[in-house]
Every structure is written in structure tokens, then in C-alpha cells.
Symmetry: C2
Subunit: 407 residues, 2 copies
């Protein structure tokens, strides 16, 4: 008998029929002899519907009450799920954030889990019941409802699995696992059997949408094996775990891309200490997250530098205004902006032991006539900023160039 | 400065626009210098929508999970209300059943309030905030969500007013007060300025839908003055309170009617001790509530009796089956059923001091050719069962016959 935490996302519980199917699936796991804790998201579209109402009530909706509002989405899901299970002759019991004692800090809308008291969950499991915990929500120390932000139900599931010392945490979704790249862009994309937490973290950060980053961090910190599985099939899916010897011997685990950033460059900035801070502090003060930063010698001559960085596309206009202002003060020549860019990245722990991955990547892109605008690297990833129009071509080129289309 | 509890029903918060209007109204009361606790129902239609989903999930939905499901309705209302108030530059804070510490028993769907710990409400009021409490919901001692049944938000409001020792409890709804009779049936219906708890209890029990009976009981027990007011006007509404000398000197306060019952008669039953128990115990065992009961000498001869009683129309078919079975066993002649009946009632504490109300009532009905099928009386009411088709005629006749159309 194993203790299994299963999480079902919004598309997996998007209708009453689908909730019934989830109920059947969970009952199957239960009758195979396992203890099951289920974490559910809101039905697909429900959180957005509720947020839409909030925005109609106030231009800048008060975060505490937004959390009270949107946490009803998961509450509806767990109640309907338990009604279905009970209607099928099995016993299920729902627990909301405050009942499952999921304690968080008080950052409404982006709360972080601090502690879970699983006494009540264990008690219900002990009575032979399926326990359905509302994902995405928690309670702060003063008894206020909080929510964990987009993808928060993944975090609820992994945190519960960690605290319960569960044998497995299964994230059921509408894809059958983690792929070597986006199958919508590259037909040769292959499902991975296993990858490491670090690889999943990089892939999620760089654009793969399959898992919330914080849930992977949680899994890594507490050593929870995470399975990503399709909710409508019996395929085993992909296992995210610590690095093991039996992992497929691949230098590169995946190719990911993101079209969510824009690039800003100030040309011919006087190259003196403190220039980076001068440029970036107004940006960070405006709560805009800078991703890549590059500073190199300007074509305009010695003593000057060109300074480039990327920001989320949504913050592009605002950032341009701020940077133009800075450029005037510090004496840059021009401010150039480009929001038609994409970031294409290679991820894999195998890079650590293999030289020449970067040069091979640049060579593959060059051979297709794709110019590289910016580069950033870490121990297990290389990212290149390119013109947006080349995104799909670059992904396919790198995918086959690094042999990811072959078993 | 007074402490006022205001309750707004489902039709008063039936749309985002209406919630905004409620927010304005509450802010007005607040800025006039009062402390305000607001109790909100679910948006009109929401509870039924959620119940519909529950019934699609299971034939006989598990009551605990139904409560988890439908309590989201009030949660959405209080959150949207607070978002609106905060958006208008004032401070409001929502509290759900578990946060307002509304402790109930564990009868899901029909829970009764046992205790309220108002510490947190007082603390929020002390900070100058408007407090919005989700109506209809509570928490049992083990931390399960419970709901109070239809009309439960009225009870939440009056119970809060009692515990907080509020100066007034205002029930805002879509009618402007309690009327001498249903204005849809009788154009001459007049709004009452005041009536007693006992009168309101009788009127609510006998068919007036304006207030939940339990809320009136609560008000009577703890002496909470209850105002029934229209949410869209500034009219003072109707005050429900203890009997006072300045109450309008009326023998009859109102005429109420109900079409929700059906009558069952067994003719020529042997008239011996225990016959009533023999007939009614299968009915009560089936959880069917019997209202009026009449037993009189049968036209069929001495030693026999005709036995009649009323049951809710919804339980009519089931009751007929049960009674036919009993009739065979105890030797009744025929079982007659009639579900085309109505109950018309007069209510008023003035009856206590005025003889002849009953005979005047019977005379008025007889003059219109309306046959009386059954009669039941209490200290402050008289009810007659008549053929359903005469309902409106009877109501109008009694209303003018007792001078209720005159100031």
C-alpha cells in the first residue's frame, strides 16, 4: 500500500463529466489498495471568470478580497468531486485550505506555503477515505484566506506529498508528460521518461508550461518524486527526480522557447562603474523583472559601452519610457527597443560534462541564417535571443541537430 | 453612533451593479457615523445553480459536500461587496462563517446556530472598517462547513445582531415591508408600521415569505428589533418588535394564505382510542409534516368518525399510499384526497381581547359562497381550509371585511 498524492488541473476538471472521470480514476487507485490524497484546481476558465468580476468591481481590486473570491473556484471543484465519489458508493471528504491547515505568509495572490499540519488529512485517510484538498489556497496565521498564484495547485500537491512523505506525487494534466520540446512546434518531439529537478526548473523558467516552478523547487528541496501524467490515459508519463545513473544518456534534455520578452538597448553609454545600477534601478523600482543583461564594448569607440537587457513584453512600453529618461541623464546615445524577439534555450545536466555545446548551438543557428542577438548561459542551459520570426525554425533545427528526435 | 446589522438578500445583490448599489448604501450608513455589519446572501439564482450541479453529480448528494459547494455563493457575494467598497475608497473586510466563528450543530443543510464569537468582528469594527459577513453558513465544532437552510442569511443577521447587542437589525429585501396581505392578490394591501414577533411568526408560518421563521424566533428570544426594508428605497419599512402600547390598534394585523397543502380524509373509521396515532404514525415515520388535524362524528353513524388532516402538496401522493394501507388495516370506509385546497388565515394579537372574530370570518366567507373545509385556531390566528379556486376572493373579502384596507 502506497500513499499517493494526485493533482488534477483545470482542464482535467473542466466539466461535470470530466470530474466524474477523475472520480473514477481516483477510485481505481484507491481500490488498487492505495491511500489517495487528491488536489484539485478550479474548473478551467473559472478563475478568470471570477477575476473578471473582481476587475469590474474595482480598477485596482484589493488583493485580500480577490483571494476570498477566487478561492471559491477550488472549493467548488473539491465539493463536486466528493459528491461524485460518494455518489459512486465510495467515501471522499473535501478539505479546504483552512481545514487542511495549509499555512502561508500573507502575500495575497502569491502566498508561499510555510507549514502544513496534516493531522486532519491523516485522520481521514485512517478512516479509509479519499481526501480531496482544494489546491491553490491557504490560510495565514491570522486566519485570512490566501492564494498561491497561477500554478499554485501544483505547489499544494508537492508540498502535501512532502509533508505526508508520500510515495509519489502525480500531476495529471492535458499533456502526457514533459517533452524534448513543444510538440506543436516540432512533430519529432519525444516524451522524456525522466529528468532532474534542475532540468525541469530551467525548462519551466525558460518557457515550458507543464509544471509550476515553485512546485519543482519544493520537490527538489524535499526529494519528492513528481510524475507528470495525462489525466485521460494510462501512460506512465514523465518522472522528475534526483539525477540517477539509469537516466537516458543525453547531453541535452530539451529545447524550450519563450516569446514573452522584449529587448532594450542603450548605445554608447559612458563606460564607468555604477552604470548598470543607474540604468536598471528605475526598472526594478517599477517592479519590472529583468531577465538577461549584456554589456559590451561599443562600436562607437573606447570608453563607451552598449548596454542591453530583456524585460517582459507586457512591461515593454513602460520600460522604454523609464530608460529614455535614464539615457538623457547619463548621456547614452540612442535607446533601441525590439519586442519581436524570442529566446531559444537548450537544457540538460549532460552539458556539465560535454564541452562545445554552445559552439555547436551557434553553428546550427548560423547555418540556417539565424542571427543571435544575446546569449546567456548557466551550468545546465544556454539561451539565445533571436528574431521572433525564426522561433520555430530554430527550435526544430536545434532539436534535430542535438539528436533529440532519436531514441 | 449606533451599531447596525444590515442584511441584503439575493435579489438585492443579484448583479454586479446591484452589489455596487448596496456598497453605496452601506457606505452612506457608515459615513452617517454608525458601525455597520453587513450580512449578504448569494447572488439571486446562484444557490440553485450550484444545487443543480450537485444533483448532476449524484442522485442523492452527500449533505456535507453540498454545504461546501453552496457556501461558495455567499463567499462570492461578500468578496465582491468588499471589492466594491474598497474600490470606492472605504474600508471593508469580509468574514466567512469560519472566520466570524459562527458555530452551529452538524445538521448539514439545516444547521442551527449555537454560538457566535464576535471578537474578530469587534476588532474589525474597532479599526473603523465595514464588516461583511457571509450569510447562511457556519462551522461545526469539528471545523466542517455547514449551511442554515433557505432563508438562513436572515438568521445569520439576527443572531449577529443579538450577539453584538446591535441597536438595530435591518433586513433589506425586494419588498418595502410587511403588508396586511399579499399586494399581488389584493391591491388594497397596506404596509404595516409595526407588528409583534408573535404575529410575524404566525404570518411567516402561514405563508408570508418576507422573513425566515427562525430569524424571527431568534429576534423574539433576544429582543432584537428587526426592520424589514426595501433595498432600493429610503422608506422606513416595517418594524418587528415586542408588543408596545403605540402599536396601531388593530384586531387583525394581516391576512395570509398558502396553497402548499393537500387534505386527506378517511371516512367511517371505528371511533376508538388510539385511532389518530394509528393513522398518523406511518406519516410521521416518513418524515411528512402534518399541519391541521380534524376528527368529527361521521355521517355514517354512531361509533364511527371521519378523520381529516393536511400534508404538504409535495408529499401528497406518498401520504395517500400510506393512508390507504392504514385504512385497510383499521377498517376505514374510503380514503379521500384533495390537493386543490388553500389555507386562508387571519393573524393578530388583538384577537385575544376581541370575541367574535371567528364567527365574523365564517360569515364573510359564507356570504361569498365559500365553503369552509377545515378550521384551526390559536390565540392569535384563525385558519380556514377552502377550495383553492376561492383563494384570492377569500383574501380580498377578509381584508376589506376586517377593515385592513383603511388607515
Amino acid at each position: 500500500m502506497a500513499l499517493i498524492v494526485q493533482k488534477y488541473g483545470g482542464t482535467s476538471v473542466g466539466s461535470l463529466d470530466l470530474i466524474r472521470k477523475v472520480a473514477q480514476r481516483v477510485i481505481k487507485t484507491k481500490t488498487e489498495g492505495h491511500e489517495v490524497v487528491v488536489v484539485l484546481s478550479a474548473m478551467a476558465g473559472e478563475t478568470d471568470r471570477l477575476l473578471g468580476m473582481a476587475r469590474q468591481m474595482a480598477k485596482d481590486p484589493e488583493p485580500r478580497e480577490v483571494d476570498v473570491l477566487i478561492s471559491t473556484g477550488e472549493q467548488v471543484s473539491v465539493a463536486l468531486f466528493c459528491l461524485a465519489v460518494n455518489g459512486m458508493g465510495h467515501e471522499a471528504r473535501s478539505l479546504l485550505g483552512f481545514q487542511a491547515r495549509i499555512l502561508t505568509d500573507t502575500i495575497y495572490g502569491k502566498a508561499r506555503i510555510q507549514d502544513i499540519d496534516v493531522t486532519r488529512i491523516r485522520e481521514q485517510l485512517g478512516r479509509g477515505r479519499i481526501v480531496a484538498v482544494a489546491g491553490f489556497q491557504g490560510l495565514d496565521e491570522r486566519g485570512n484566506i490566501t492564494t498561491l498564484g497561477r500554478g499554485g495547485s501544483d505547489t499544494t500537491a508537492v508540498a502535501l506529498a512532502a509533508t505526508l512523505k508520500a510515495d509519489a506525487c502525480e500531476i495529471f494534466t492535458d499533456v502526457s508528460g514533459v517533452f524534448t520540446t513543444d510538440p506543436n512546434v516540432c512533430q519529432e518531439a519525444r516524451k522524456l521518461e525522466k529528468l532532474t529537478y534542475e532540468e525541469m526548473l530551467e525548462m519551466a523558467s525558460l518557457g515550458a508550461k507543464v509544471l509550476d516552478i515553485r512546485s519543482v523547487e519544493f520537490g527538489m528541496k524535499y526529494g519528492v518524486p513528481i510524475w507528470v501524467r495525462h489525466s485521460q490515459t494510462d501512460e506512465p508519463g514523465t518522472l522528475i527526480c534526483e539525477e540517477t545513473n539509469d537516466m537516458e544518456d543525453m547531453i541535452i534534455r530539451g529545447v524550450v522557447y519563450s516569446r514573452k520578452e522584449a529587448r532594450i538597448t542603450i548605445t554608447r553609454v559612458p563606460d564607468r562603474p555604477g552604470i548598470a545600477v543607474a540604468i536598471l534601478s528605475p526598472i526594478s523600482s517599477a517592479n519590472i523583472v529583468v531577465d538577461m543583461i549584456i554589456q559590451n564594448t561599443s562600436a562607437g569607440g573606447e570608453g563607451f559601452t552598449d548596454f542591453s537587457f530583456t524585460v517582459p513584453k507586457d512591461d515593454f512600453e513602460k520600460s522604454m519610457l523609464l530608460v529614455r529618461d535614464v539615457a538623457q541623464r547619463i548621456g547614452g546615445e540612442k535607446v533601441l527597443g525590439d519586442d519581436a524577439i524570442a529566446k531559444v534555450s537548450l537544457v540538460g545536466v549532460g552539458m556539465r560534462n560535454h564541452a562545445g555545446v554552445a559552439s555547436r548551438m551557434f553553428g546550427l543557428l548560423a547555418a540556417e541564417g539565424i542571427n543571435i542577438r544575446m546569449i546567456s548561459t548557466s551550468e545546465i542551459k544556454i539561451s539565445c535571443v533571436i528574431d521572433e520570426k525564426y522561433t520555430e525554425l530554430a527550435v526544430r533545427t536545434l532539436h534535430s541537430g542535438f539528436g533529440l528526435d532519436r531514441e
